[in-house]
Amino acid sequence: MTTTLERETRPVQPKRVNEIRVMVGGQGGDGTLTVISLLARCLKLIGLHTYDARNVLSRIRGGHADGVLRGSVNRVLCSGDALDALVAFDEEAVEVGSPLLEADGVVIFDSSRGPLKKRLPPGVQVYQSKLSDLAGTQLKKTLLKNTISFAILSRALGLKQELVERVVRERYQRKGGEVLEGNMAALQIGFRLADEIGVAAHYSIPEGAENGSLQVVGDEAIGIGFIVGGGRFYAGYPITPASEVLDYLSVNLPKFGGAAIQAEDEISAINMAIGAAVAGVRSMTATSGPGQDLMTEGLGQAAEAEIPVVIVDVQRSGPSTGMPTKHEQSDLNHVVFAGHGDFPRLVIAPADVTDCFYLTIDALNLAEKYQLPVFILIDQALAQNSQSVPPFDLSKVRVERGKLLSQTELDSLPVYKRYEFSSDGISRRTVPGMSGGFSQITGNEHNEWGMVSVNTENREKMMRKRMLKVELAKTEMPRARFYGSQDAKIGFVSFGSNVGPILEAMDILAAKNLPTKFLLVRSLHPLHEDELAQFLDSVDTAFVVECNLSGQLAGLIRREVGFANKIFGINRFDGHSFRPHEIAQRVLEELGPKTGGNSRNA
């Protein structure tokens, strides 16, 4: 076997760490994400919390792809700022990953296409070997380079060999046969190679008992929440980064007598969700920006006809096709304002995977209680990156169906009108199949019976009836989360997955004696003006952090709450989520010597 060492391996003392950050990069199809998920499993089994992020292109094979895994004794909500180790299957991966490497970091490089050209700082330890060639000659399958690299990586991270073997065995057990044998053989080749080239344990990771957490991505948590919350009908059209919702529910809904339908387009998807809801089933659809555009007519229909439906929007880089696999938070204006006419809707913004589960159940309850469309707005990072979360508490789950009548309740009524005026704007609802519950459900303006009407007095009453529901639902919409010290004069306001990098930026700033606080908004429509006004009133400067160019959340707050002169935008729209140091840096620039601040957005 040929081994090329770029420089001599040095004797190292394993560094004791409380967290470890690893990137695995190569071309799409290299199996980089497999290595990440194997490592995530190892770290979970020794009691660490994990967060993994992916960076892929919109193509099946080829193009740079990488995954980043962060394991920590504490719960983490972002990939952080730096890397301890980098597994690179090509030169490009080193270009991408090396700027983030710690000065004493480790690189494992597949030199099958030639030795590493990139010059790295002297403190960085590089282990390189022809991993693909080795996998090809010894295992007849070059892809197994990923499992070989995993063995080498595990040595560098100081992980026990038996743990690594257990994780690989468990992962391929079900496939068995050649797949299992091939991967187990690849591991052994990797371990032997590590011995040969003298891979040392660079890190000592604290080992504890498995902590019972779940490793889930946001899309899946929404899928689980949907089923547990009584959802039985889902329709969607494949679209990145929302496809995991469709995939999860396609496998799991049928087990509960439900169905996940792949529609011919998003217009069909939302109308299917509406159809199932009309028949009395809790239903949902999920999409991303381009599909959201097509769903807009269905949104107005659900609102006008008062049909409970949940719509998940997983934001990606727009407009148009934009950058399909890339992160952004630029659909906020769309979900809050889209559609012709004035109509009620609710917009909930989960910020982490735990929220994705519980708030999906809330969304189902709100949709049915208030008989209107409810958006769940998340972003690519939250949708597709996996987080360690405490197990979801099933005892907290409630199914509240509002004014959906039982047959007995219906039997006792002298008159049944689908859109009957009431003090709370909510009318009793029947479903087809009930005796005596005939109703006309329509997207035309209608009278209380559901018959088309252009009567002026009726029109005004119906419009007010529908809008009233938003005001009442507001009392049940999720409140913001508050972090930091009450008396800080510098504040952050944000939503979605920015919570991770902002919390760490706050730590960085605190270490520089700059106390900050943070309001994480989780109800985007209606906004809880009270909590925002109180927060904005209490700070000198509020940094509104969001992944879009125009400052959509900042604009919404200025419009609904005010405080325009205190609001500064920190915006990123290059397809990636924020890193903690970058947020801290922008704050320091803005507050530092009065240079005029290039991030000023007000």
Binding site: I267, V281, Q301, D411, Y416, G436, F438, Q440, W449
Partner: protein
Amino acid sequence: MPETFPVATPIWCPGCGDFGVLAALKKALAELRIPPKDTIIVGGIGCSGHIHNDIQVYGYHSLHGRLLTTATAVKLANPRLTVIAAGGDGDGYAIGGNHFLHALRRNPSIVYLVMNNGTYGLTKGQPSPTAQIGFEGTKEIPFEPVLMALSLRSSTFVARGFSGNQTQLVRLIKEAIEHESQGKGFAFLDVLSPCVTYNDTYAEWRKAVVDLNADPDFDNTNRSKSFQHILETIVSGRIPTGLLYRGEGASFERNVLLPGSEPMALQDISPERNLESYKKLLQKFA
């Protein structure tokens, strides 16, 4: 029993073909003794889409062109319901064309009644995809829905009626509803239903219609022969009517739903009911 909505008086012009469709539909439902409480009519947008207001059953007025996707999901949610989608030719063959194609492909057990008059009456007479060449200056070759339906190998029921022939229309609607109720799939019935105001084709169509079921040489169980027969009839300037094709195939709901499961709409979804299975969902991620 509570008092429910007062059945509306149709909005159609005197003499509109849709009166014939409404009369035939009422008669068919009554003769088949379909319980009104288990019936839902999903209407489209346009004159014909008002039909659901005119019968005492459950009614849903869908978005323009979206009645089939809505009706498909209603059926999946509760296969015990009799689901009738009813709309116009602009609704179904223009703006809803994609959904028509996919309904034919999926074969859900729903009835689809298209009141076909070749024009957009509510917007004052623009040509629809089925408008005859020359109507309002159109030069486009008319869309032929029954040929399209036949061309999808998954279609199981393709028919055409004429609102001027009640006896035939009642028979076809009854056969369509039976196909639906027996879970055999998508019962597509295009009904020639003239617009007396903007495209009065009564006299023309009365002369041109031919009941293929009266032709002993016509075999409506053979897809390719039926296709050829219909195409030749159209090319010769006549309009084929009758039950044009009847085949067999698994319905969408049968393909999608767990056999023997309680309809989704009737399930008890309280969390306690499924706690053990929910726990298993979480274990996957532990």
